[in-house]
C-alpha cells in the first residue's frame, strides 16, 4: 500500500508532470485544432437551420459547450482542491490555481453567448431566472476563488483556502444543473437526456458533440500550458528547472 502511495506521489510530482505534459502537449494542440475546426465548420456552415430559430440557433455550437465546460471546470477545480487538501499534492494546488481563471472565462463566455442568443429568441438579453442566476453565482464563485488567492501572500495557505472555498461552492453545481427541472425557467430543459434520444436530428447534434469534445480538449490544453508555466515559476530554484532553462 505504502508503495502505491509513494508511486502516486511521484507521478504527481511537478517534474514528472512537466515532462509528460511536454510530450503530450503537441498532440493536444493538434487534436484541439482539428476537432474545433471540424466542429466549427460543420456546425456553423453545414448543419441545417432550425425550423423556428433559423440560423440563430447556431450560437448553440458556442454556447452549449461553453456552459458545459464552465460547470465541469468548476467541478474539476473543486476536485483538484480536495485532492490537494487530502493528499497534500503540490500539483493539485497548481491545477486549482490555473483552473479558476479558465473557468471564469468560460462562464463569462456562456453568459455572454446566452445573452446574445436570448435577445432574438426570448426577446430579452437577460432574465432573472434560476438557470441564469445560478450561472451568475458560478461566475462570482470563480471570481471569489481568484480574489482570495490574490489576497493571500502565503502560497501554500492560499492554495488550501481556495480549495475549501471551491468545495463549499460546489453546492451551486446541482442547482445550475437542476434549475431547469426544479423551477420554472425561461431557459430550455436539456436537449440531451441519458435515457432518451436527443431531441434533435443527428446532423445537428453530432457537430455539437464534436464541439463539446473540442472545448474539452482546448480546456485541457490551456490548463496544461498554464500549469507548466506555474511549475517553472514555482520550482525555479530546483536543479531540474535550472538545467532545463540552461539548455533552452
Amino acid at each position: 500500500m505504502g508503495r502505491v502511495w509513494s508511486l502516486f506521489h511521484k507521478f504527481a510530482s511537478p517534474k514528472w508532470f512537466y515532462e509528460i505534459s511536454g510530450k503530450l502537449l503537441p498532440w493536444f494542440v493538434a487534436m484541439t485544432g482539428l476537432v474545433l475546426c471540424t466542429g466549427v465548420v460543420w456546425g456553423l456552415a453545414y448543419a441545417p437551420p432550425d425550423y423556428q430559430q433559423g440560423n440563430a440557433f447556431r450560437i448553440m455550437y458556442i454556447h452549449v459547450p461553453a456552459s458545459i465546460l464552465a460547470e465541469s471546470s468548476y467541478m474539476m477545480m473543486a476536485l483538484a482542491g480536495a485532492v490537494g487538501l487530502i493528499w497534500k499534492i503540490k500539483l493539485a494546488d497548481l491545477a486549482l490555481k490555473t483552473a479558476a481563471p479558465l473557468g471564469a472565462s468560460l462562464t463569462f463566455l456562456s453568459i455572454a453567448t446566452g445573452a446574445i442568443w436570448g435577445k432574438p429568441i426570448w426577446g430579452t438579453w437577460w432574465v432573472w431566472d434560476a438557470r441564469l442566476t445560478s450561472m451568475l453565482v458560478l461566475l462570482f464563485l470563480f471570481v471569489g476563488v481568484i480574489a482570495l488567492r490574490s489576497a493571500m501572500e502565503n502560497k501554500e495557505a492560499a492554495g488550501k483556502a481556495c480549495a475549501i472555498l471551491a468545495l463549499v461552492g460546489l453546492v451551486n453545481i446541482p442547482i445550475i444543473k437542476m434549475s431547469v427541472e426544479w423551477w420554472f425557467t425561461l431557459h430550455q430543459p436539456s436537449s440531451f437526456k441519458l435515457t432518451e434520444k436527443p431531441a434533435m436530428p443527428p446532423e445537428m447534434w453530432i457537430p455539437l458533440l464534436i464541439m463539446v469534445v473540442g472545448y474539452y480538449s482546448a480546456f485541457a490544453t490551456a490548463w496544461m500550458m498554464r500549469i507548466r508555466v506555474e511549475i517553472l515559476e514555482q520550482e525555479n530554484r530546483t536543479q531540474w528547472v535550472r538545467d532545463r532553462v540552461r539548455t533552452a
Binding site: 441545417p48 437551420p49 432550425d50 425550423y51 423556428q52 430559430q53 440557433f57 448553440m60 432574438p120 429568441i121 426570448w122 426577446g123 430579452t124 432574465v127 423551477w183 420554472f184 425561461l186 430550455q188 430543459p189 436539456s190 436537449s191 431531441a199 434533435m200 436530428p201 446532423e203 445537428m204
Partner: protein, 151 residues
C-alpha cells in the same frame, strides 16, 4: 456520559462526530419533506383559472398560444391572445408592446404580469419560451404535414 476510559480529547472528538450525524440526518429529513412542497412564482393557466394565483400581484404565467386567438388592436400596440396548457380553459392575455420574433401561435411563451379583476392576465413582458426540440425546416414541415393528414 462516560465512554469507558477514553482519553479526554478522544471523547471530545466523539461528541463532535455525534453532533454531525444528528445534524446531517435532520437535514436529509427536512429536505425530503420540503421536496413535497411547491415553491414557485409561476402559475399555469389552470391554476389561474381556479383562483390559486393572487389577483393584482406580479406573477409569471406561461403556456402555449392558442392558434387563432391572436387579435391586434388597429390603433395601438395592444395585443390580445389566449394561452393554454392544453388541459383546461385558456387564459386571456393582454399585452401592449412589441412581441419577440419567435412569438407564434402554437408556440410556448412566458409572460410577466398581473391578473386583473376580470380574470384577464395583463402582461408587462412577453418572452418566447423555446423548448428542447430542434429540427431542420423540412423535417418540421414533414411532421406538420403528417400531423395534418392524420387529423
Amino acid at each position: 456520559m462516560k465512554f469507558g476510559n477514553m482519553k479526554p480529547h478522544r471523547r471530545r472528538r466523539l461528541y463532535v462526530v455525534l453532533f454531525l450525524v444528528v445534524t446531517s440526518s435532520a437535514a436529509v429529513g427536512l429536505t425530503l419533506m420540503a421536496l413535497n412542497e411547491n415553491i414557485n412564482l409561476f402559475y399555469s393557466p389552470q391554476q389561474i383559472a381556479s383562483g390559486e394565483a393572487p389577483v393584482g400581484k406580479t406573477i409569471r404565467a406561461g403556456g402555449v398560444v392558442v392558434p387563432g386567438s391572436l387579435r391586434r388592436d388597429e390603433s395601438s400596440l395592444l395585443i390580445e391572445f389566449d394561452i393554454s396548457d392544453l388541459k383546461t380553459a385558456p387564459l386571456r392575455v393582454a399585452y401592449t408592446g412589441i412581441l419577440p420574433d419567435l412569438f407564434r401561435e402554437g408556440q410556448g411563451i412566458v409572460a410577466l404580469g398581473k391578473v386583473n379583476q376580470q380574470g384577464i392576465f395583463v402582461a408587462e413582458e412577453v418572452l418566447a419560451k423555446h423548448d428542447e426540440n430542434y429540427m431542420p425546416p423540412e423535417v418540421a414541415a414533414a411532421i406538420a404535414a403528417a400531423h395534418g393528414e392524420s387529423e
